[in-house]
Each structure stands twice: as C-alpha cells, then as structure tokens.
Symmetry: C2
Subunit: 354 residues, 2 copies
C-alpha cells in the first residue's frame, strides 16, 4: 500500500498511516497512528471518515492494540475503546467484532492481527473492484445506446477512495472507466452542509486525474433538463429490503430530477449495506440530526493560505441539519453491487442477497 491514491496504508515501520481528511482539500497531511489512543482519536475527530475506511482503520486498530498488550483479555479492553469511538458507524463495530472473533484462539496476536486486518482490507478492495467493473459495464451500455464517446456522471457527497477501500463505491466505476479509456467527466455536487463533494470528492478526483466540475447542489436539476447529465451514481449508508436508499441529505432531490428527465439513477453499494429489517425506508430509517453549526459556519482558506472558519448566517437565526434523506426505490434505476447489478425491488434483492 502507498500514499497518494489510498486513504490509509501500512508504513515502512508497519504502523498504520492515514490521510488527515479534516485538512482536505487545503492541506495534504498524513498521520501515523502508533497506539490505540491515537486510533480512537483519529476516528473520533474525523481524521478518517467514510464507512469502509473506518472499518479498515478499526481492523488495523486491533493490530495496533496488539502491539501494546500481552494477552487477549487486555486486548478486549482496547477493542471496546475502538468499538465505542463512533457509535453510529455500523462498519466499525462489524470490523472490531470480526477481528476479535478471529483472534480469540491466537497464540501470536501481533502477526495474526496483521494478517487478518490485511485480509479484511483486501476483501473490501475486492468488493470495490467488482462494483467498479459492473458499474463501468453500465457506463459502456449508456454510451453505446446514446452513440456517444463521452459520459457525464453526476455524484453527490464522497463515496470514493477517501471513503471506501480500495476505489470507493460511487466513484469506483468512474475510475474503472478511465482505465478502460473512456472519456469521463464528473459533476461534483458541493454537498452542503459539510461540503464533502467540493472538498473531498473534488480533491480525490484531482489526485486521480479525472475531469470534473464542482456545482452548487441546486444546479443538477437544470443540468439534467439541459441534457448535460448521462447518469447519476451515488453511494448509500443503508438500503432497505425493498431498495429504499438512505444517503447524504439531498440525494432524494437528485433522484427526483433524474426521474423527471429520464436520466438513469444508480446507487453503488457493497452487499453489506442492506438492512433486511427495514421494509419501508422512508418511514423506518431514522435520520441523524447533526449540529446546526455545520450549516452556520464554514471552513476555507483565506488569502494568506490559512484555514479559517467563518459564520455565514445571522448569528441568532436558528438552523437545522438533517444528515441524510431516503430515496424511495421507485426512483432508482438500479443498484450496482459487488454481486452484480440489481433492481431496487424486494424480490430481486431477496433472491440475490439472502
């Protein structure tokens, strides 16, 4: 593993090294995480974020913890610390539990943990590669049907290699398209209020040499009316048994516009994103309410190159900050998964994934 096109890697001293995502896109800095405390802090303060990446950091976190302990019981305490570092991150708990289960009879914690963490990471990378290939087949189909040589893809938030090992979910088919020599251009939704599009996705695509243009979240509808969008691909945080998609707030509005303009709307996910306990996604998936300060304040660099936070609203006007919305299955053309393309439909999802 190496630096520039990955969110995390093992450095030459076999410590976990990660990109500090809180500084992007203004500064590229990495952090070496040598202790359990440093792992926990990196997850808590969002040095690392994105479902897949947090899972990988947690797995390497258990390996890091093994460097500090003598036996499994001591390890359990540190595992608990990591597991509780971000309460809503399902992937984090899953990765910690999997690692701890595999290590329970180990006689060589450090080496076994390293081996299992690398394996978990490789499995995720393999899923991402499958999503890349299945998704890119769709890109080729669309170009063939339209008899065009250049594809314009709109995406929302960040679901690339900064979020999911190895090349992300929503952006994976785009990276694959570049490999296959397809002329690809990405409309990057700014993604207010945390601006993951304008900061992380735009930065990531720049690093990967992908043509892109940042747009205000308000702009996608007009672009679709004007024929400037050939398809939409987003990631997802949770998908119901019938294919309703919880993703970053605003995804639903883009899905409505895509439907209204006959633009294919795809959601790229590993199979682990399904939550089969959820039947009606719109009614049942709880929507996280985050701090109003994420709406009222914004971070950027001033003319001296210093990172500054500024207030952009009247100080006393209240704001509300829902983190996600749910896009009903009826608006989704298909799900791009590591097991192939699947319609957002109860029966087809059940047949393929249970």
């Amino acid at each position: 593993m190496q630096g520039k096109y990955k969110a995390l890697w093992l450095n030459k001293n076999k410590y976990l090294e990660v990109i500090d995502q809180t500084k992007l896109p203004f500064e590229y800095e990495t952090k070496v995480l040598k202790t359990t405390d440093e792992i926990v802090k990196a997850i808590k303060d969002m040095t690392v974020r994105g479902a897949g990446v947090i899972g990988s950091v947690a797995a390497f976190g258990i390996y890091t913890a093994c460097l500090e302990v003598d036996n499994y019981d001591e390890l359990k305490l540190r595992a608990k610390q990591i597991r509780e570092s971000r309460p809503t991150a399902v992937n984090l708990m899953w990765a910690v539990d999997l690692m701890m289960d595999k290590l329970k009879d180990s006689t060589d914690l450090v080496n076994d943990a390293l081996k299992f963490a690398i394996k978990l990471n490789d499995d995720e990378a393999c899923e991402s590669q499958k999503i890349a290939e299945y998704g890119c087949d769709i890109i080729e189909d669309i170009l063939k049907k339209k008899n065009k040589s250049k594809i314009n893809i709109l995406t929302h938030c960040n679901a690339g290699w900064l979020a999911v090992i190895d090349e992300g979910t929503a952006l994976a088919p785009i990276y694959e398209a570049k490999k296959r020599g397809i002329d690809v251009h990405v409309w990057v939704d700014e993604t207010r209020p945390r601006n993951q599009g304008a900061s992380l996705t735009a930065w990531e695509l720049t690093q990967s040499g992908i043509n892109h243009t940042i747009i205000a979240d308000n702009t996608g509808g007009h672009l679709m009316q004007d024929g400037q969008v050939d398809m939409v691909i987003t990631g997802a945080d949770r998908v119901s048994a019938g294919g309703d998609v919880a993703n970053k707030i605003g995804t639903y509005l883009k899905a409505l516009a895509a439907k209204d303009n006959n633009v294919p709307f795809y959601v790229a996910i590993p199979a682990s994103t399904f939550d089969f306990d959820i039947i009606d996604g719109v009614k049942e998936i709880p929507i996280e309410l985050r701090s109003e300060d994420e709406v009222k304040y914004i971070k950027g660099v001033d003319k001296n190159g210093k990172i500054k936070e500024v207030l952009i609203t009247p100080k006393n006007s209240p704001a509300i900050n829902y983190g996600f919305d749910v896009t009903p299955a009826r608006l989704i053309t298909g799900l791009i998964t590591n097991k192939g393309i699947c319609r957002a439909d109860f029966d087809e999802i059940r047949l393929k994934f249970t």
Copy 2:
C-alpha cells in the same frame, strides 16, 4: 419612509438612502446616494439588488440626476448611465424609461421627478400589498383544510422587502399572515451559491420578527417527506406565457419534491413578470452563467467579527455557476399575483393578463 423595514427611503434632506446589502447579514449599514454616479455605483456593485428595488432606485436615481442638471437633454445623458448600470435588469430599464417619458414636458424637473418616483414606488407597494393579501388567503385556506393553527412555509432565495418594494413578493403573504395573527414559521433555503437565503432572507425575517429556520438547499425534500412543509412560496424573475417559472437555481428541485409529496407550490409575482414572447420556458429562457468564484469562494465573519472571504474548494478544480433554472408549469399549484390567484396555464394567464 423609514429605515428598518425598507430597502430604501428618502432621508430628511430628501436624498435617497439605501441599506448596503453587500454587508448583510453581518453589518447593518446604509448609504446616502447624492449623485448619479453614486446611484450607478450602488446598482453595479450590488449595494442594492432585487428586481423591484433596483427599479425603485432607478426611479429615485432619475430624481437624483435632476438635482445635477439644468434641462431634459442633460438629464438624458445621466438617464442613459443609470439605464446601462446592470444590463440584464428589465425593471431598471422599465423604470428609467417610464420616468423619462413622464418628464419629457416637465417645467420643474426636480419636483416632478420626485413626485413620479414616489408614485412609481407607491404603485409597487400597492402591488406587493395585493400579493400579500391574496397569498395570505391561501395560507388561511390551507390551515382550514388541514385543521391546523400553525403554517410551515418553505422559501428559496430572497423575495422579501430587501428585493421588492414594499414587502416583497414571496415573503409578502408571510408578513400579512403575521399581521392577521397566524402562527407562521419559514424554512429558509440557504440558496447556494450566493446564499441570499441564509444571509438576506434570514436577516430580513429576523428584523420583521418572523420565526424561521435556515436549512441547506439539500434539506427541503426530506422535510416534505416528513410532513414538515405545508406550502412552498418562491418569487420569479420571468414567467412564460404558459406559466413556466425562471427563478433562482434550485427552485425546480423544490417544485419536484413538492409535487412528489402533495405540497402546494406557489410562485408570487407582480403581473409585470410575465414574458408573453416565451412559449416554452424550459427551452426558451436563457440561463445566466455567472462567475465560478461565487461557488469557490464564500464570505462570512471570522471569530474577531471581521468579514472574510475564504476559498472552499481545491484551488484548481473548476466550478460552473448557472444563476437560474426553469420550473415547468405542470409543477406549479398557482401564481399569486397582484391581480389575484391564477393557475400556471396558457388560457387562464391570457384571459387575466392580456
């Protein structure tokens, strides 16, 4: 006329005084405009903005010019200067032409210009008042139908008293509702990239004592799914013969969400907003392309209370900035005009307005 609830007024020395809207919501400052050059500069640098307000400033601008000239021919040169200060502002040209036409036989330019400017301003105020009343009747109807006592209205951009004399267009029914004792709460779309909602609308509603909450533009869809929006009211820059509405970019996405959730979607306009030469709004209305810097940079106040501009994207990522989009008539519940409520429909519009 007075300061706090108006965008402009005549001060005690009979000079035009305006709120400097470039400083809002961070600083409340006014400017006295004593010369034609100052009038032109205020329009050019967006000290004043909003269709109606620019028209009023232009009318008082002609009066201001009269203070500097001896005869109608000299006045014509200054009128030309004002008329050309913002090329796309239809209302500006209309107001200058109307004033100049009325003054052409005047023997007392200063006093006549003052009289005509006040008349033009009063006529606009009267239109705004009619929109307020017709719009508020709809608010009362919705509350009655839902058997509720509190109304939640979502608005996009700024179409209040900072934009249109006297109480605006989209916000006029809201001010009227407050007068009638209705419990009204406004969801204020931030309105990227120029943030007219988060800055101007939120500030204006604060001054007027109206309950409101600022939201990212991405949020309205979820709020509608969740039953938290009873109606949407926006303004418009231009309306086609059949009721297609050109308004601030992102309006179309809110109209789609309103339709999908059976939320009434109204557009408040004076009759002068119709452009009967436009048949298909989506295809025919040209969309202004503005500077990418409005997407890439943002203004706010730092922790020392100083207004600062910061870069919020990677420096070299391109951005694109369409100023408006067009909402097709089929998504619009009705037009709230100074001549009453009208469906967004060719025949009804023709009967009522031509």
